[in-house]
């Protein structure tokens, strides 16, 4: 079901009225099938652009993307992608159920194996809200509907662009656990963009660290924590170790210099 994701030497330049902006500079990436990988980096470093290039929303200025060995355009036409945006992006005139079934209306119900909308609604915990309109739901519930919609066609690659960025910390923590459960059940490849170090480490098998513009991948941190993940793991030394390595990757030695003596005992771990 799941597909691997490869990015070969991809650069992306945007032409503005008076100047060109190099958003991505020779990005290399390899996400094995079925893995959960996060991308972390300062805002404006090209994370959303990278996801858009993978999903064939735009084409790279240089380099190549392969999804299960095929081009993003082919993969998109085969409905391999589930895309979750930072805002839920539900259609306000459709009920929750109709929003989740939008992919079916477009592809045709008989054309393709798909999940049952009822199962998905249960999976994301929206039972009883099938006929509610989006504005009647809280932000967290809307985002869960958006996740269910992204899973409708059983995508082999799930792309998540800061999906919980707008949520409060408690809801966010809960949504992360739910997302991990859903990911484990569906077995897709997942690529999560976030700007929270703790979130990136907690969710992923691997964290890719990106630099300030022009975006480059400057570090790869493997996360050795077992699955399924539990909140307790966030207290483990292995977790702190990874958090520190990601932070070092983001801020370089400057973050390191002041705290050399407390190296294995970080005082502050970024909250979500």
């Amino acid at each position: 079901m799941s597909k691997d994701l490869r990015v070969f030497d991809v650069s992306m330049e945007f032409t503005r009225r008076d100047s060109n902006v190099l958003a991505l500079d020779r990005v290399e990436m390899n996400v094995p099938a079925g893995r959960f990988v996060s991308i972390i980096g300062p805002s404006g470093c090209g994370k959303s652009t990278l996801l858009r290039l993978i999903a064939d929303v735009m084409q790279p200025s240089a380099g190549r993307v392969a999804v299960g060995g095929r081009s993003p355009a082919e993969a998109r036409r085969e409905h391999e992608f589930g895309f979750v945006f930072q805002s839920p992006t539900l259609l306000p005139w459709r009920t929750v159920l109709q929003n989740i079934e939008l992919p079916l209306d477009i592809v045709g119900r008989s054309k393709r194996p798909h999940s049952s909308a009822r199962d998905l609604i249960e999976l994301v915990g929206l039972k009883g809200f099938e006929s509610a309109l989006p504005p009647e739901l809280s932000g967290g519930m809307q985002q869960r509907a958006a996740i269910a919609r992204a899973l409708m066609l059983r995508p082999s690659v799930l792309l998540l662009d800061e999906p919980f960025g707008a949520l409060d910390e408690i809801t966010r923590q809960r949504m992360n656990l739910e997302l991990l459960r859903i990911w484990a059940e569906t077995g897709t490849t997942a690529l999560l963009v976030t700007h929270s170090i703790a979130e990136a480490v907690f969710m992923s098998d691997q964290v890719l660290v990106m630099s300030e513009r022009p975006g480059r991948i400057t570090g790869i941190v493997e996360v050795p924590l077992a699955r399924p993940r539990t909140l307790d793991m966030m207290r483990s030394t292995a977790f702190f170790e990874c958090v520190n390595r990601v932070r070092d990757g983001l801020f370089g030695v400057e973050a390191h210099a002041g705290s050399t003596e407390h190296h294995d005992m970080p005082l502050v771990v970024e909250a979500y």
């Binding site: 999903a55 409905h79 306000p92 592809v107």
Partner: protein, 259 residues
Amino acid sequence: MDVAKAKSAFSKVALPMGVLVAILCAAQTLKYFNLLPIFVPGPWDVVMQIWTSPTLVSSNVLPTLYKASAGYLIAAIVAVCAGSLAVLVRMLYGPIYNFGVCINSVPIIATAPLIALTMGNGPQVQIAIAALASQFPMLVGTMQGLRSADARQLELMHVLSASKLQTLRYLLAPGALPFMLAGFKIAAPSAVLGAITAEWVGADRGIGALMLYALFSYDTPKVWLSVLLTCALAASGYGLMALVQHYVLWWDRDVELES
């Protein structure tokens, strides 16, 4: 339903109605004591006109209603087509919008004789002018509505590999509906006023004709009657479209038209 809604319905309908009735009663009282100028009839005299000559009302309201509706319908069809074309072909967007602005800013009273010259004198002149007078809000509503989908929604349709037609059907058209209906609502009174103004230039039937006839024969109550009928017709057009808007849009969507 709930108290807040009932309250807002009260302040929207009952309050203005109450004020209106109070003003009418005051006017009638003043008239009774001969305190109003000679050219202001008592409200009751105006209403009595409907009672004493009902055919006068129907034989003038119906032609105007017909002409305004026909013009409105033609304008709606043309505006929706032109608006869609403008959004579809980016090069035409500016020209179509500016053309709409031009037509909208030429005074009806100036175009009416010109159109009468080219189209002869029959109801077609008033229909054409009703159409010209009402097209702009519908054009703006269509253009603004079809462009109201945000970048994320369009990206979503793209990632789902939706065809152009599917994007129109599932995203653009429903998204445009609130804007279009808002335009349709604003346009309805304009069609009525356009038709009536055009009737001044030459029509033997219609509220505009009645108005002119009453003016020239110094029949003050009939002048006021024709004003009353104009307001009633324009307001019913607006009200009808407001009802359509209320029942067609089930989702919560208040929009502002910008022109």
